[in-house]
């Protein structure tokens, strides 16, 4: 999953903010908010009556609605989203991110600075620093792996723009464990054009299309370090020879792919991400050992104050076989990711992978993925 500081879904469909009556209110007045910059006091005045003084949710006997309330002290919930999404919901109400209409809009009661102090106070309810901040959950590129551990499902389709034709799909399922870890499973399948060995009508070899399974892989990732703006992870994938070799959908060798990933948030919703690793094969005749390095840089723009997020990015991909002199393959992948729904947990990314070197042996590819951050709600929720 990806996100930037100025967007992303809140978490789950049960955001319900509201406010407190609380004794602290007595210290406030509309004309002279005495504790205007005190996040705890503002939280007490505007939030605590529904969300509880400790963020775990008020007792049902004290509120007049049935919507389940989130637990702000649950780090798994409270750490995932960047401040900007919390502020969006607090300012404009739950519907701005496809959440409950019971969450009111406080944009006329608190200004942006006051809302930030409230969010800062809410952040104190999760006191485990092991959870990386939501600001580090950067937009997912088409190729480069993220450092942030995620709960998401991604359907990626790659189509060759030139002959031989191939359309390959890959379904990726990622599941987060604890504050820093994640497992993932990738299942590729597709259709590819392959020569039949018979001459065609034009004299060239005839081809036909066939479909099959690709090489399934499983992987683990662990974020070993992070601060407020950066995150670094180590990961490895095990690739199994389940694919159709004749169709070019797989290689007849088990491979292990250890890699490192780094994410860096930059000012103004910009960011870059890096990934580097090797792919080691059990049979170099079937699949060569390979080193790869990838980088992506981008920035996210928002339609209106809290609207759709657009993230133009460009990836630079490099790889080389470790045991021959075939040289380095360089590719460029310009792309655009966009959030599709109001909750912003369903996204689309479209791009094209253009070979820069060894262009005779490699074709241009069109890529598209549909991403569903399933932790934030059902695929049909929040539209």
């Amino acid at each position: 999953m990806r996100r930037t500081a100025s967007r992303r879904a809140g978490a789950r469909g049960w955001w319900v903010w509201a406010g407190a009556w609380a004794g602290a209110v007595a210290a406030l007045s509309w004309s002279a908010p005495a504790d205007a910059q005190d996040g705890a006091a503002l939280y007490a005045a505007g939030c605590a009556s529904c969300h509880g003084t400790d963020g775990t949710g008020a007792d049902e006997s004290r509120i007049a609605f049935d919507d389940p309330l989130p637990d702000f002290s649950d780090c798994s919930f409270a750490s995932r989203e960047p401040d900007a999404d919390w502020i969006a919901v607090a300012h404009a109400g739950g519907p701005v991110r496809g959440f409950s209409e019971t969450m009111p809009a406080f944009g006329e009661a608190f200004d942006g600075a006051q809302l930030q102090t409230i969010i800062d106070h809410i952040r104190t309810f999760c006191d485990d620093p092991a959870w990386p901040a939501g600001e580090l959950n950067l937009p997912r590129a088409l190729i480069t792996e993220k450092a942030y551990p995620e709960d998401e499902a991604v359907w990626t389709t790659t189509a060759n723009a030139e002959s031989p034709g191939a359309v390959v799909n890959e379904i990726t399922y990622e599941k987060r464990f604890g504050p820093r870890s994640q497992i993932e499973v990738k299942v590729p399948f597709g259709f590819a054009e392959a020569p039949t060995g018979e001459p065609g009508t034009g004299g060239e070899l005839d081809t036909d299309w066939g479909g099959g399974l690709g090489d399934i892989s499983i992987g683990v990732k662990h974020a070993v370090w992070h601060d407020d703006q950066s995150i670094f992870s180590l990961a490895t994938e095990l690739v199994l020879p389940t694919g159709d070799v004749d169709r070019g959908l797989g290689a007849d060798a088990v491979r292990v792919e250890p890699f490192a990933a780094f994410g860096q948030a930059l000012p103004a919703d910009a960011y870059f991400q890096l990934q580097g690793g090797v792919e080691l094969s059990t049979d170099t005749d079937a699949a060569e050992h390979e080193a790869f390095w990838r980088g992506v840089i981008g920035r996210t723009f928002t339609s209106g104050e809290f609207g759709r997020a657009w993230s133009p990015m460009i990836e630079i991909l490099g790889s080389t076989a470790l045991e021959d002199e075939s040289g380095v393959n360089w590719d460029l992948v310009p792309q655009m990711q966009v959030t599709l729904n109001t909750r912003q947990h369903v996204m689309l990314n479209v791009g094209v992978r253009v070979p820069v070197t060894n262009t005779d042996a490699r074709t241009t590819e069109f890529l598209v993925y549909l991403l569903w951050d399933w932790f934030d709600g059902g695929l049909l929720d929040g539209w």
């Binding site: 407190a20 009556w21 007045s29 007049a64 609605f65 109400g93 209409e101």
Partner: protein
């Protein structure tokens, strides 16, 4: 004078066992064509005009209502020396039914929307007044006069809804509605007993009855009108009213019985 009554949402013409009466009285205003003066000396120029006034009453014994438990928010309870009773049917002196919207269904062409603002306040954890009626695009000022948080959740069916958090005493929010709509619900999700109604009309010929059930409509040109009374719990009643030159009109609606 014939009429029909129906409950909101019941689909139009379901009659209630309600008696209606229209009384035409021959006292009060004098009217003439062209420039004219009403009984208070105000100039009524260029048309034949008459005020229409009346009362809405409730026949029989109204429901007793239930005491409101404000213990969830001690501030609210402290604002009332005596127990507050939630009365969906509020009946005053001589059976007057309060909070009823009376409006002309086939009103003359509307004049420009007034620039006035209509206040819907929250005082002692109750909406004041219990219902407001405004013109299309007229501003409703929603104020919190309490030292406790209220959220104001407005749920129209035609217009766009909203939900405002008002955590600070004295805060005011301004909203307007672009389409006519009767009976827009307003409630507080924190204090479940708080509910109000906003009516939006595309003309100015409406009024909400006071504690004694009385109302006064703005002056109407001579003609035949269908006048409707709307109550959240009791439904609607309507009757045809003929406004004639030289005759003030008194309208009476009766619910219950």
């Amino acid at each position: 004078m014939g009429g029909d009554m129906k409950r909101p949402g019941a689909g139009g013409s379901t009659p209630l066992a309600v008696g209606l009466a229209l009384v035409l009285a021959g006292s009060g205003l004098w009217i003439a064509g062209g420039d004219a003066r009403d009984g208070r000396g105000a100039v009524v120029s260029g048309r034949v005009a008459l005020s229409a006034a009346g009362r809405v009453t409730f026949a029989g014994t109204p429901p007793a209502g239930d005491p409101i438990d404000m213990s969830a928010d001690s501030y609210c309870g402290e604002q009332h020396a005596e127990a507050v009773i939630d009365r969906p049917v509020r009946v005053g002196e001589r059976g007057g039914l309060a909070g009823v919207l009376v409006h002309v269904r086939n009103a003359p062409d509307a004049a420009a929307t007034p620039e006035d603002e209509t206040l819907l306040d929250q005082v002692g954890c109750l909406y004041t007044p219990e219902a407001v009626a405004v013109r299309v695009d007229e501003t409703v000022v929603i104020r919190n006069s309490d030292e406790t948080l209220h959220n104001v959740r407005v749920t129209p069916e035609v217009n766009r809804g909203f939900n405002l958090g008002q955590p600070i005493k004295g805060i005011e929010s301004r909203r307007s509605f672009g389409q006519p709509e009767i009976g827009i619900r307003v409630r507080c999700d924190i204090h479940g007993w708080m509910h109000s109604t906003i009516h939006v009309l595309d003309h100015g010929f409406f009024a909400i009855t006071g504690p004694d059930g009385s109302f006064t409509l703005p002056e109407l040109p001579a003609g035949e009108y269908e006048v409707e009374a709307w109550h959240r719990a009791l439904g609607t009643a309507s009757q045809t009213v003929t406004v004639a030159a030289g005759h003030p009109v008194e309208i009476a609606f009766e619910f219950g019985g």
